[in-house]
Symmetry: C2
Subunit: 410 residues, 2 copies
């Protein structure tokens, strides 16, 4: 993962690895025929450690895909040892048959992994409302079982892609006070990406030993700072799933409230923020990444304002065009904070102050135009009052987004 | 206005006119140099009847443009006799100078119209955050005064256009029990169009005699059923203004709670719904118009669901592509109704049932594809429960929308 962003601090004492899973994990990705292209579309990930600890987060959508319902209701979420994930079909809005299909997939993956069913998480991504061809999936699981490998994170990461242009995988070695551990993660997502939930799909593995409460706490905090802070198109998915699994195979224990926990948490945070930013950078049709940070007001106001700016098609189209049209930032914030006029708004783009106390500030248009021509653009918004702060990362709105989404199923 | 839509019932006893203002009104539109194209950009509308009654609605944005603030705070909103409106500059986020500029424009228009300042409404539309060149506007007002005419609604309607491809004017003759009256209206809007407010700009004139309370009641009800029910891009504007003016020059009184009021209200309703639909049809880059109607649940749920579907870039891109991708309707509704799973959702597109109780329903894909190929597409969503209903009209998302908005100011 050569990607770097000024918005992600590299963790201390961490070394980027070319790939590979932490001790105790094996994975595979195969083509089972769900994608018309014939590409990899079925991933299997297994921990061989019986004491594996896990934590999970899911979409808050009112319309939950069958695999999300099944995993939430039928799994021991603090002890997941295997993940089976397919692309090409979301198994969402598929009714009772969809739940039975997800259960069949879970059963086959349990058999292939040699773990009990309640330790197998199921995840799907792709088109909504089409029955899942479980024959294909089960044959794929059988193939994947034979290919399980400690270096299988690459094919696994490829098998969960839909409209993603590139795979989103990362692998780290981390030196903690108590010893050296490894972390790896695979994520996917390019469309139907919005804050206020987990993410499309993200799987994280470590050979550190974590208490279930520690795993849950760290995943929760880090998801809030990463996948909860991105938007490609403001569209909450039916299938979002994020799972952290800790095999403990390194023998290094990350004890609650220890320096190990602090450092491990920092590394997990950087890892998830990098993957989240990769999803934004790979946003359908995206060319540029924006970050809006809103300060002042109260917690609800800054969150609403930041999401409104990140979700505004006018702001996103201007970002795409390299157009420093800051009036649209003002408009989006005003639209989010109904009936709050007069709003003494401050706006700066890449550090150039363009609006102060609600009124335009003279500035150098050439400098501003140059500032918005880069691959990352930062918008800072100040609301009256102090204390609260929120940020959202977002992609631009391009012709390619329209092309991709006007012709998705037809 | 040859446009017809199955979603607007033509009012009884009404005759469409080619144009022209009701008795008592004159208008003009001139080019004052705000639009780089040299097109008409300054409109003036005057009622000669001292007893003119009016009502007004404005944007609820937290960022209010100077003309909105000035008109709200300095006008007798029930007795507006003149409107001065410019395109090419929104006079928004322009601070104290913007308020003073709006006041100067109001003063010049009062002089030109021969009415007192507190009866002159000021409206602006165009780019945000740029000081208004009032010298140009005031020269324009002077030119417009000389051209005021009972047939000036056409030039006036042209002068308030920004990215609008066509002017949106209508003129009706209406036979009421108490006599014959006329109604005319001019609207503009193609981008930064979202529900939950008045509209971009809409001016309605009648020679009927209305009580101020009747004018306010009727405008309020009709705006709720028209401009509050449309979305081009979900973006609330800083400048939305709708003003109804009744000169009484026909001598026909529309008394409260009379058959006249009922029939007048029906005609006003049809007029505003037609103009609102014209705005959607002229939505930036738009090719198709969608209507989503959500039934069931409670008032808040149906409103949130309808707005989520209308605002979804995925739904809008599918509408553009003639893609019957109903899974995105399910996704948008689920995203709007957080944590309500399992949601037993029904979805029909152009009467073809595609989802029932949350699960896909077998249907004829060819028939469905044909149904979404027309210029208007209707999406019906059923939520569990009964009683509530809401509708939103929306445009599709096209390449042209991106082109228009990526290159607006540069």
């Amino acid at each position: 993962m050569s990607f770097t962003s000024r918005w992600v601090e590299p963790p201390a004492d961490a070394t980027e690895l070319a790939g590979g899973l932490p001790a105790g994990f094996r994975a595979a990705g195969v083509a089972c025929g769900l994608k018309p292209s014939g590409g990899l579309d079925l991933g299997l990930l297994v921990s061989s450690a019986p004491e594996t600890v896990s934590a999970a987060r899911f979409t808050r959508s009112g319309v939950l895909a069958a695999p999300v319902v099944l995993t939430q209701e039928r799994c021991r979420l603090d002890g997941i040892r295997a993940v089976v994930a397919n692309a090409g079909n979301a198994n969402a809005a598929t009714g009772r048959r969809g739940l039975e299909d997800a259960a069949r997939v879970q059963g086959a993956a349990a058999m292939a992994s040699g773990v009990s069913e309640d330790r197998v998480a199921v995840a799907s991504t792709g088109v909504i409302g089409v029955p899942l061809d479980t024959d294909k999936v089960i044959r794929g699981i059988s193939d994947a079982r034979r290919e399980l490998d400690g270096d299988g994170d690459g094919p696994f990461g490829d098998a969960i892609r839909t409209t993603d242009k590139f795979a989103k995988c990362a692998s780290l070695e981390l030196v903690l006070p108590s010893g050296t551990v490894r972390l790896s993660a695979q994520a996917k997502g390019a469309g139907m990406i919005s804050p206020a939930f987990a993410t499309m799909l993200c799987f994280v593995q470590t050979d550190a030993a974590l208490e279930p409460e520690t795993a849950d706490l760290l995943l929760g905090v880090c998801v809030k700072r990463s996948f909860d802070r991105i938007s490609v198109d403001g569209q909450l998915s039916t299938n979002d799933t994020a799972i952290l699994m800790a095999s403990g195979a390194s023998g290094v224990e990350v004890a609650p409230e220890s320096e190990d926990e602090l450092r491990f948490g920092e590394a997990l945070d950087a890892l998830l923020r990098r993957l989240a930013l990769l999803i934004v950078r790979d946003g359908e049709g995206a060319k540029r990444v924006g970050r809006v940070v809103v300060r002042g007001g109260d917690g609800e106001a800054v969150a609403r304002a930041a999401r409104a700016v990140a979700g505004s098609p006018l702001v996103k189209a201007a970002l795409h065009g390299g157009d420093p049209n800051w009036g649209r930032i003002a408009q989006a914030v005003g639209g989010a904070l109904h009936d709050s006029a007069p709003l003494a708004l401050d706006i700066a783009i890449e550090g150039v102050q363009v609006c102060s106390g609600g009124a335009a500030v003279p500035h150098d248009p050439a400098a501003l135009a140059a500032a918005v021509a880069g691959s990352e653009v930062e918008y800072a918004v100040g609301l009256p009052g102090e204390g609260a702060e929120d940020e959202v990362f977002f992609s631009d709105l391009s012709h390619e987004y329209v092309t991709i989404n006007a012709e998705y199923t037809t």
